[in-house]
Symmetry: C2
Subunit: 344 residues, 2 copies
């Protein structure tokens, strides 16, 4: 089942259809998406990255067949495939580069091979950028002209869209939102790439866990201290749950994260001046509708506003993403649709 | 005379022509620019901001007449006018907002009034964004698909172009490069808008002077100490001259500025991933061709490179701007040309 999308019947779908494929470290999500951005069918297959890319392409082909069959559609209904994978990648050549998540897939011509296997043209994209385009096309920013998405997960990623144009960058590194710098000091924290002072070094899962452990090591009392002593490994989810049940330290950590995130958001707003800033990813402290999630996003807004140019303060829109785990395949399908329309 | 542009004869000009108008606090520069981005004619008139906007519009009209007359052209040769002013502004409405440099011009419908006075459609733009488009169209980034310009002057400004699209922003505040944040601490320096931790708070003229004064106050020996005692007011130009003649403190200040600037540039690269980063404005420590200027820009490159995502390190292009004070009117004309071509 899709994460958040509700399925529309094939009879109600706006044609043509597009297939979106989102390759993750564990699963490959496949969605049949209509011309209005609605999900018509959903299927997923295991990535089994260790078996190599050619093996996965065969499973993607089988997955597409199953997806179409379940929805009652045929390949003739599909105009194009959108394919999203983790970076880095050579977008022009359609080749995966040295991805940390897919070690046996390096330098694989994935766009061409998926296209050959499935018999359709393929639009290839970075997964975070595809997710951004998904939220822009039919999620949290569906009524916007421009958007910055920041995803909080193990790392901090994102994507930027200005007027229907996805900022993919001259070398496929546009919208690497976790790698903007927010601290100039040499002893600033380091991120997953061993870089100091990046947004990810303050707001990535590892940073959240590190700050919590440091506070506990310094003798701070918290329900997390007992959990840790009992052998529980701290994660943003565990910390988030503690915060939701009133743990003071965990709530402080959440609000600190909101403050650091705000610094990055101010930078994006003064660079792009988008209609909307969207916060996605799993590390959302309960997310939309949850009291702590709402406090988290309100804290972000409260920290951003006074740092903005005066003329931007009353136009601020910062909200949670809406598509959850569906954003990647929906956005990949949406980018395939853009290509299809441009080449018609 | 134009600052850097060499004039081409009307007979050699590629038609149609465009008029670019760049309104500064002291002078209004007017350029007649051909379809290839070359300057055919140049004229300037005093801004006399204190007389108000309507008075300046009358001088702009006279200026355009003089400009055309001197070049041997007529209004019929001109397809459109590009008009650049300092911000903030409402681009959609074509209205100047509360500009610090033009206090008597607030809320003036400048686009419509210039269009009525001159009898041509007008494309209105922020002056820093226009300068960026000028460098992109026919200056330092003329062979690029995307570019970030950072201008170092009294303030720190800039502009961003991605694939022929100027990132003007949903509220006219795109490319406000001086207002990205590079320091999260509450006691970080403040910029001209009293905001802490912005790039401008570290690299603006005021920041450069403040750091120099602090070092001198702390007893640092420097040729600048004697100048200051002699009543000379320190400016980036005075500090730059001292550095050029071997003053150690002044050179340190220049290289510190390069380091801070590099942090902002890393952020722009990981956000936009442009083909090229261009450094413009008067505070350039001698600029291109000068030993200190070359050392300054090389220091920027050296500080940026190790902080980049690995796949971007060998693709780095950071260079000085080429159009000097002509960039604004050239870019305004170029934006007028874009509008003209889109509406043909």
């Amino acid at each position: 089942m899709p994460d958040r999308a509700s399925l529309v019947a094939l009879a109600d779908a706006k044609k043509p259809l597009f297939v979106g494929i989102d390759v993750g470290g564990t699963n490959i999500k496949l969605g049949l998406v209509d011309d209005a951005g609605r999900t018509v069918g959903y299927h997923s297959v295991p990535t089994k990255a260790e078996r190599g890319a050619e093996d996965a392409v065969a499973r993607m082909k089988e997955g597409v067949d199953t997806l179409l069959q379940q929805a009652g559609a045929t390949l003739a209904d599909v105009a194009r495939i959108g394919l999203a994978t983790p970076g880095p990648m050579d977008l022009k050549a359609g080749i995966l580069l040295e991805s940390g998540n897919l070690p046996k897939w390096w330098h694989f011509p994935i766009r061409q091979r998926v296209s050959e296997a499935c018999g359709l043209p393929v639009r290839y994209a970075n997964d975070a950028n595809a997710a951004a385009y998904g939220e822009f096309w039919s999620g949290a920013a569906a009524d916007c002209h421009s958007m910055v998405l920041i995803t909080l997960g193990t790392g901090v990623g994102g994507g930027i869209i200005v007027g229907d144009t996805l900022i993919e960058g001259a070398h496929g590194c546009g919208g690497e939102c976790g790698h903007v710098l927010i601290d100039p000091s040499d002893d600033a924290p380091r991120d997953s790439l061993d870089k100091t002072g990046s947004l990810e070094a303050f707001c990535g899962a590892y940073a959240i866990i590190r700050r919590t452990n440091e506070a506990l090591d310094a003798g701070r009392s918290s329900s997390l201290a007992q959990l840790r002593e009992g052998g529980q490994k701290l994660s943003p989810l565990v910390i988030s749950r503690a915060a939701e049940t009133g743990d003071e330290l965990a709530q402080e950590i959440a609000m600190e994260t909101a403050r650091y995130l705000a610094l990055g958001i101010v930078t994006f707003i003064h660079t792009i001046d988008p209609d909307s800033v969207v916060i996605g990813g799993g590390v959302n402290f309960g997310g939309a509708g949850h009291p702590l999630g709402e406090e988290f996003i309100q804290r972000i807004r409260d920290e951003v506003r006074p740092r903005l140019l005066t003329s931007l303060r009353d136009t601020l829109h910062i909200d949670f993403a809406q598509l959850g785990g569906d954003a990647g395949y929906v956005g990949a399908a949406g980018l395939a649709r853009l290509d299809h329309r441009q080449q018609k």
